[in-house]
């Protein structure tokens, strides 16, 4: 029966797709069934649904089972079988040449490991303070000024700035002051004695609105609004109020029982990558100096949250016009003796620094928290990481091309069998990818292993971000890119052999590539040598700084802090202590020559009168007559203060730098004038003149990186701390004695002491860290480079086995052979050195500029660096050369 039936055409694109991927042997029945099913579906469900089902069903066939199998495919698109095939050949090849494979993999794994470690470190450094809401709009106001002779970049601004901005700047959504302060005494009301704690800060309640300070307990809308509110960190809450919610409880600050503080909240644990790490936030409402309306000075860091879409430049300009010009400069000009004069180049500038940049970009700002990073080191280490990876990749390329000679026959035969070049390229790329992938896995494994040790060295808790979804794909992506890049050159080279030449045996033993290989080796080694030079320089500079004479004797000096808390009795304490037999000398003052301790800068004038525009900003320290002998400073002219001579209260001792700045060749007997007070009625500074009775040798009181400034010492009673020079074998017993003495004074205070030399030591931690990192990475780079050299040497020797055998038969000695083999490499090394030494010199000079007091880049650094590299390389090559020269010619000349 003939039926006129209408047939629906299935979606043609999908059908094309099916015909493309499906193997011919299945195509007929599958296409037919799908067609038939489509007709039925169209009848039953309508055309639209039928189409959908058709698409779905077709896709269901897209599995390896039904795919076309092409063993010899001319299409350049790689497919499954090809990969499988290539992979098998690649693994066979790797296993057959275990030696070279191992070196390639190990070298690269080390490189990956180093790269990852540095990468983690850099990632951590770059991530500071990004957890605040709207951190892109968060800025702090920085203050650069030049008044008279004094120039500075400060992270502090004038007291009334924040409030003014809140009132008059609609461009700024919110502003807050947050000021870290020195350690304080604190206790709970029921504790007998107070403890010293660090991590205090004054904060306006607006700070809670701007920053991400999540509260575990307490209400962030109201905390810190009352004058004696305080927020403590969760670890402090655990310490003082274990297991309870301390909100509402009280704490006593600085033994002031009359005015306790109320805990208004508990801060949740903040991530470690933040600049703001506080244990106690105290409301600024209770800070009297914080209410001052004077526009002079800079005591409070001010933070701004800009409104959406506001350009920081706009805010800066407004600050310039309405704050600097209208308030700050007039305030400075009011005080004549400061000598502010635009014509003399004086200026005041307020600028905005993004909060997220604080950690890395504020090396030059004077501020409280000195635990910061430095963006320059990020660059340096980043570059090193990339170079190490480059060295490892070069190894890979070198070894692959070196092995090419052995594979020439293989390539020739395969080409004869009809393999086209692209397939060979894929083959060799797969091989290099296999090595890279294995090396990656190994490298990540190594990183995981060494991470805890690495963390210990740098003091930061780094970890591999397995959990982040981008991590594995990113890693894989990098592996692929590197694999393809470093595999391309060898692949192209290897696949280029002409079958006729190869099978005839005429293939020149890779002469052209030998030159490239040599060039790469030179490059590798040059980088390694530069790294060694860098390391040696850094280590030397560190040692220099540690051993440099500070100008005073820092050993066996004990400092007892905060003696001012002894109420009326600090000097009685001093008397008591000085009578102890172990005490050589004791001095009382708050001014200790350690970076971060009290400083007091003010203006000085040479002579007996205050002269406009000739003020010099120098340090003014109030000390006692024991100061100089206790610290072991050297008086090079004149004399020390004498307790007996009452005229000494109008006398001063200055350091060499001060003498230079004041312009005195023979300072003793000259006069200087300085500010000694402030007259509230006339709004003027009061000055007095002092006679210089002595000159003390320059001593470092800031980091050795910075130049020593002028310091003038004055006699007075300053009970800030006690400095004790001790001579004893039983330091512990001595400290116990002092502590007993201390405890006799009431109210009992926590006894806080430190050793001068230890405190100084900790200052240089970050530099020591850098030195250690440098050393570690240099060693790594050299190891990788040597691995490459080792393999290359092995290969060269292998190439010339027959030649060596013949020479031996002809009478060459082992020594001759050795020389022959090694000569080539020596030349390469010499070229490396010739490149590396000038480069290293330039780089190190730049780095050393950073230090006011630095070592000279003496030639012996370069000699040693070159020597080390040379020696290691020589040993590496020699191993191969000696085994070769000792080989029995009978074995090597035997026909295979």
């Amino acid at each position: 029966m003939e039926e006129e039936r209408e047939y629906y055409d299935p979606p043609s694109r999908v059908l094309q797709f099916l015909r493309w991927f499906c193997a011919d042997s299945f195509l007929d029945e599958i296409e037919g069934d799908l067609f038939e099913l489509y007709q039925e579906d169209a009848e039953e469900y309508g055309l639209k649904k039928a189409k959908r089902r058709y698409v779905l069903n077709t896709f269901r066939y897209f599995r390896p089972f039904f795919w076309k199998r092409q063993i010899l495919s001319n299409s350049p698109i790689p497919n499954y079988t090809m990969f499988k095939h290539n992979f098998i050949i690649a693994s066979r090849h790797l296993l057959r040449h275990k030696f070279y494979s191992l070196i390639k993999i190990t070298g690269f794994a080390l490189g990956i490991s180093a790269f990852l470690l540095i990468g983690l470190f850099i990632r951590n450094e770059l991530s500071y303070d990004r957890h605040h809401p709207h951190y892109e709009r968060l800025y702090r106001v920085v203050h650069s000024l030049s008044i008279g002779d004094y120039e500075a970049n400060l992270a502090w601004t004038a007291t009334p700035l924040a409030q003014k901005i809140r009132e008059e700047f609609p461009e700024v959504e919110n502003a807050a002051r947050l000021r870290a302060i020195n350690r304080r005494l604190i206790k709970t009301p029921d504790q007998a004695s107070s403890n010293f704690e660090d991590g205090f800060a004054f904060a306006e309640h607006h700070a809670l609105e701007i920053f991400n300070f999540p509260l575990l307990y307490g209400d962030s809308a109201t905390a810190l609004t009352a004058p004696f509110d305080m927020i403590i960190s969760s670890r402090m809450a655990d310490k003082y109020f274990p297991g309870e919610n301390p909100v509402g409880q009280q704490m006593i600050l600085d033994n002031n029982e009359e005015q306790p503080y109320q805990i208004a909240g508990v801060l949740a644990k903040t991530p470690h990558n933040t600049f703001f790490d506080f244990d106690f936030l105290i409301s600024m409402e209770g800070d009297e100096p914080g209410k001052s309306t004077s526009w002079m000075g800079a005591n409070y860091p001010t933070y701004l949250l800009l409104s959406e879409g506001v350009d920081p430049g706009e805010v800066e300009r407004k600050l310039e016009n309405s704050i600097v010009k209208e308030h700050i400069i007039p305030a400075y000009k009011q005080v004549q003796s400061l000598g502010y004069d635009e014509n003399n180049g004086n200026y005041v500038r307020l600028q905005l620094q993004p909060v997220k940049d604080i950690h890395l970009h504020s090396v030059n700002y004077i501020e409280f928290n000195t635990a910061k990073g430095d963006i320059r080191y990020i660059w340096i280490f980043g570059t090193i990481a990339i170079f190490i990876l480059i060295i490892a990749s070069i190894n890979l390329m070198n070894l692959s091309t070196a092995q090419s000679v052995g594979r020439a026959k293989e390539v020739g035969v395969r080409k004869v069998l009809g393999v086209i070049r692209i397939q060979l390229i894929y083959q060799f790329l797969t091989e290099s990818m296999a090595v890279i992938l294995i090396a990656f896995v190994l490298g990540v494994f190594l990183t995981e292993l060494s991470l805890s040790y690495f963390n210990q060295i740098i003091g930061i808790e780094l970890s591999i971000p397995w959990g982040k979804i981008w991590f594995l794909p990113a890693l894989l992506g990098i592996a692929l890119v590197i694999g393809i890049l470093s595999g391309l050159y060898p692949s192209f080279y290897l696949s280029s052999f002409l079958p006729v030449k190869v099978l005839k045996g005429n293939l020149a033993s890779g002469q052209k590539t030998a030159n490239l290989r040599s060039a790469l080796v030179v490059f590798q080694f040059a980088i390694s040598v530069i790294l060694i030079i860098g390391t040696l320089t850094v280590i030397r500079q560190m040692r220099f700084m540690q051993n440099k004479k500070l100008g005073f004797d820092e050993e066996q000096v004990l400092m007892v802090q905060n003696t001012y808390t002894l109420g009326e009795k600090p000097f009685i304490f001093k008397e008591q202590i000085s009578s102890l037999p172990q005490v050589t000398n004791i001095s009382m003052t708050e001014f200790i020559p350690i970076p971060g301790q009290s400083r007091s800068g003010t203006n000085f004038w040479a002579g007996t009168k205050r002269v406009m525009n000739q003020e010099l900003e120098m340090q003014k320290w109030t000390i006692d007559e024991n100061y100089i002998p206790t610290l072991g400073m050297e008086v090079i002219a004149g004399r020390n203060f004498s307790g007996e001579n009452s005229a000494d209260t109008k006398a001063t001792i200055i350091n060499e730098k001060a003498a230079k700045r004041l312009g005195f060749e023979n300072p003793v007997g000259e006069y200087l004038t300085t500010i000694t007070g402030y007259d509230n009625e006339t709004n003027e500074f009061v000055t007095s003149s002092f006679r210089i009775i002595g000159v003390v040798k320059d001593f470092h009181y800031e980091s050795i990186r910075t130049e020593i400034g002028g310091v003038c010492l004055f006699l007075g009673n300053n009970p800030g701390a006690a400095i004790i020079r001790v001579k004893t074998d039983d330091m512990a017993g001595f400290i116990a004695q002092i502590e007993d003495s201390w405890m006799e004074f009431s109210p009992p205070q926590a006894f806080q002491y430190a050793f001068l030399d230890e405190s100084l030591d900790s200052i240089y931690q970050s530099e020591r860290l850098t030195a250690r990192l440098f050393t570690a990475f240099s060693i790594l780079a050299i190891v990788i480079a040597c691995l490459g050299l080792f393999a290359l040497a092995a290969f060269t020797v292998e190439q010339r086995t027959r030649e060596i055998g013949i020479r031996k038969v002809l009478g060459a000695s082992a020594g001759n052979i050795y020389q022959l083999l090694v000569r080539h490499f020596i030349l390469l090394l010499v070229i490396s050195l010739a490149l590396a030494i000038p480069a290293g010199w330039i780089l190190m000079q730049k780095w050393l500029q950073d230090f006011a007091y630095r070592i000279d880049l003496s030639w012996d650094i370069f000699l040693i660096s070159g020597g080390i590299a040379f020696l290691i390389a020589l040993i590496t090559i020699s191993y191969q050369a000696t085994t070769a020269s000792a080989a029995n010619p009978v074995d090597t000349l035997r026909q295979e």
Binding site: P10, D28, F35, L37, R60, F66
Partner: protein
């Protein structure tokens, strides 16, 4: 020996092929299966199973005529081979043995 194990789906496909006799091609197998087992069967699973069974030697096949209903494509008709029949029988015998081992009191519901 690899390839002699008969999966559940493969088994019911083979049984259906045996039942359908001359009409045992992809789509028919699928429809019959769905009807008899009351569960959804995808056409691609049927084809994969049939071809795999053929590779194992349990099925043989021949091509039918082209037809307009199939857009001009031929049908591939499957038949159970001797090997396949033996495999089915083995499977049946094993099942029987296992069922016979169950004591009467094992099940709470009436199965047999």
């Amino acid at each position: 020996m690899k390839g002699t194990y008969l999966g559940e789906f493969e088994e019911i496909v083979m049984l259906t092929i045996a039942a359908l006799q001359d009409e045992a091609y992809g789509l028919a197998i699928k429809k019959e299966l769905e009807k008899q087992t009351e569960r959804k069967v995808s056409i691609s699973a049927v084809h994969a199973a049939c071809n795999r069974l053929e590779d194992k030697g349990f099925l043989s096949s021949f091509f039918g005529d082209k037809s307009r209903e199939r857009g001009g494509k031929r049908k591939k008709i499957y038949q159970v081979s001797m090997e396949g029949q033996k495999a089915l029988q083995t499977s049946y015998e094993i099942r029987q043995k296992l069922w016979n081992r169950i004591p009467d009191t094992a099940f709470q519901i009436q199965i047999f």
